[in-house]
Amino acid sequence: MTLRINKAIWEYLRHNGYRQTEKHFLSEAQIEDHTKELLLNQDTDIIDYILFSKNSEASPETYEKSYLELKNWILSSLEIFQAELFILLYPIFVHCYLDLIRKDHIKEAQQFFENNNYDHMAFHSEELAILKSIQNTRHIMENSLARNFEKYKFNIKLSSYSFELFVAFLQDKNFKLLLGIVNQFINIRVVDVKELSSGRQSKNDIEQPTAIITGEIQKDIDRLNSVPVQWGLLENCIQDQVAEMKIQQKFEEEQKKLMQLKRRKRKIQKPTIPKQENRIKNSTILFPRLTQKLEESIKEELVQAEELSQQNLPSICLFTFFHSEGKINCSEVSAESRYVVAGFSDSTIRLVVSCSQDGTARLWSLDTKSNLAIYKGHNYPIWDVQFSPLGYHFVTASYDQSAMLWVTERVFPIRVFSGHLSDVDCVRFHPNVHYIATGSSDKTVRLWETNTANCVRIFCSPTGHRGGITSLAFSPDGRILASGSEDGSIILWDIGTGKIIRKMHQHESTVSSLDFSVLDGNILASGSLDNSVKIWDANMARLLPDSSLFNFTSDFHSNEKSQQAVLLLKSFPTKNTPVMNIGFSRRNILHATGYFQTNK
C-alpha cells in the first residue's frame, strides 16, 4: 500500500512542478524510477485506489475521443461480452461529463452530452434530465444527484473474461483518463465463470442489467445479505390460531358427513399444521394484548375468508372518487371493510393515523371524531405511515431519507432507520413485527430490524427496479417481499437470501399499491396509475425453476417473458380511473380506490 501512496505523491509533485521537493522526496522515500504503471488489480476485489493522476494533460477533446473509442470497441466486440461491457459505459459517461464541467470546459461538456446521451436514454432518462441542468462547478456542489455520483462508487459485476479484455483495451490505448475514472468511481467485482451464456439478450431488452449506486460496495452488501433473518411468524399468532380453527372445522364437517352416510367409522387423521421454519422464539418486542372481543371478531372473520387460488379469483370492489383529480392524495379501506378513508390536498382526513406533508403524524379517534395526538419528529414531509399488525407501534417514511418507529404513547420516535440515499417513499411492517421494509426513490428496498434499527438486507440488483419504489407488500407467511415501482415493474424478493425470485413487468405506469391475499398469500394484487388492477399468481412465482442461471450478472433464476405472462391471472382495466390503493379485506375481498380522471 505504501508503495502506491509513495508513487502517487511522487506523481503529484512531478505534475505540479515541485522539482526540489520531488528530489528530496525521491531520495528519502527511495523510490526507483519506474515508469508509472496504472494497474487494475487482478484480485477479486478492487480496493480503494488513490487517484493516480489528476491528468492535467487531458484536454477536453480527449474525453470525448476516448469515450467514443471505448463505445466503438464495445459495440464491435463479441455479443457475449457486449452486454456486460455496455454497463460500464454509463458511469464513464456520467463522470466524463462531470469532469469536463469541473474543469470549466462548459461548451465541450454540453456537446459531449448532446452527442452521447441517447445511448443511455432508455434506462436513465430522469438522471440524464438532472445532469443536463448542471452547467458549472457551483451546480455540481449543490445538486444532490451530482454529489451522490462523486461520493459513492458504482457497483459493477464482470466476468473474468470481460474484465481482462477491458483492462487490456485500456492499457493498449493508454487511456489514462478512463483508467483514472474507473479507478476512482467504479467498483468492479470480478467473478469467475466457467462459461458465458450465449448473449440472447439484445441491448434493448428490459432485463438488461445496469449500473446503480447504493452507497455501499457490493462486497459489503453481499455480506449484509447473508446475515440470517428470522422471517417466520410469531409463535401462537393469529394466523396459527385461525389455521387451527379451520382444520378443526373441516375435521368436524368430515365426521358429520361420515355419520350421515352411516359408513363404518373410519379413523380420520386430524391433519396437523406443518411446522414453519425460522420462527421467532423469544419476541424481543413487547406489545399490549388485543382485547378478547377484538381477537375473537378478527379470528371469526379470518376463518370465513375465501380461499383464493388460480381457480378461485377474488371479487373486486372499486370505489371511485369523482371530482377529486389532483386533490386526492391517498386512500385506504379499513380491514373490516367498514370505512373508506381518503386524504385530500386541503388537509382534511378521517383516518386513524395519518401522515402529512407538514412533517407530522396524527392519531385520530373514529369514535369521538377528533385528533388525539400529534407526533413530531420529521421536519420534512412524511410520505407513508403504517400501524403494526398488532397495533401500538407505527412507522413513518419521510423525505429526509429516514424512517422512524413510534409508539402511540411517546410523541418522539423510539427508533430511527437511516441509510437510504434518497427520500423514503413507503414503509411496511413484517407480519412478525420484528422487521420493517422501506422503499425509496434511490431504487432500493431495505429491510431493518425493529429492535436495533440495523439494516439487515439491501434489496438491489442490476436487473432490479429502474424507478423509485412506490409500494411494498409482505406475504402473509413472511417469506416474500413484493415491491412495485414507478417504472411499472413488480419484483418478488426472497427475504432469506436477498435475491430476486421474479420480476413482473406488465404495468405501463407507476404501481401505486400491492397486497397479498390474507392467510395463504396465493394471490398478489397490484393497482397502478395506468388505470388497471392486475391479479398475479404468487404461489407459482414461489417455485424456483431449476433452469440454470441465464446470465451470471443477473440475480434472476429465470427471466423468460413467457413465464411472466403465465403469472398474470387477470387484468382489470378501468376506463379512466387510476388506481391509488388496493387491499384485501379480512374476507379476501379486494378493495380498490381511485379517482376519476377527466380526459384532457
Binding site: 443536463k132 452507497g215 413487547l286 388525539l372 410523541v411 423510539i414 440515499l421
Partner: protein
C-alpha cells in the same frame, strides 16, 4: 402566443429546457414573483455586505456570500447522511419503553396529547 413580458418568456424557456412541457398557466406569474422576491433579497443583503466592507460598489464576492446565506435560510436541505446516522445511533441505543397496563388506546401523557382542556377558568369568576 400571448404578448408576454420578456422575463416571463425567459422563464418559459427555462421550463422548456428542463423538459417540462405541460404546466398550469398560473405557474408563470408565480415563478416570476418568486424570482423577483429572491433576487431583490439577495441584492439587498449583498449591498449590506459591501457596505460592511466599506465599499461603494457591490462585488461578486458579496453576491456569492448573500446567495449562500439565503439558500441556507430558505431552502434547508434534509440532514446529511452522516448526521442522520449519528442521530440514529444515539436514538437507537435507548431501549424500548416498558408497556404499562392500560385499557384502550395507549396515548401520550395529558400534556403531550391533544386531549387536555385548552382553556383555563379565570380566577376572578371561580369563587363566585
Amino acid at each position: 402566443m400571448d404578448n408576454l413580458p420578456q422575463d416571463a418568456r425567459v422563464i418559459e424557456q427555462i421550463l422548456h429546457s428542463m423538459g417540462i412541457e405541460e404546466y398550469d398557466p398560473q405557474v408563470l406569474p408565480q415563478l416570476l414573483e418568486f424570482i423577483q422576491k429572491y433576487t431583490s433579497e439577495v441584492l439587498e443583503k449583498a449591498q449590506k455586505y459591501a457596505q460592511h466592507a466599506k465599499r461603494n460598489q457591490i462585488e461578486e464576492s458579496d453576491v456569492t456570500l448573500a446567495i449562500t446565506n439565503q439558500v441556507a435560510y430558505s431552502f434547508q436541505k434534509p440532514p446529511s447522511r452522516k448526521l442522520l446516522a449519528d442521530f440514529a445511533k444515539a436514538r437507537n441505543a435507548v431501549p424500548f419503553p416498558q408497556i404499562r397496563f392500560k385499557y384502550g388506546v395507549h396515548l401520550p401523557t395529558e400534556e403531550y396529547s391533544l386531549t387536555n382542556a385548552n382553556y383555563q377558568i379565570d380566577e376572578k369568576y371561580q369563587e363566585k
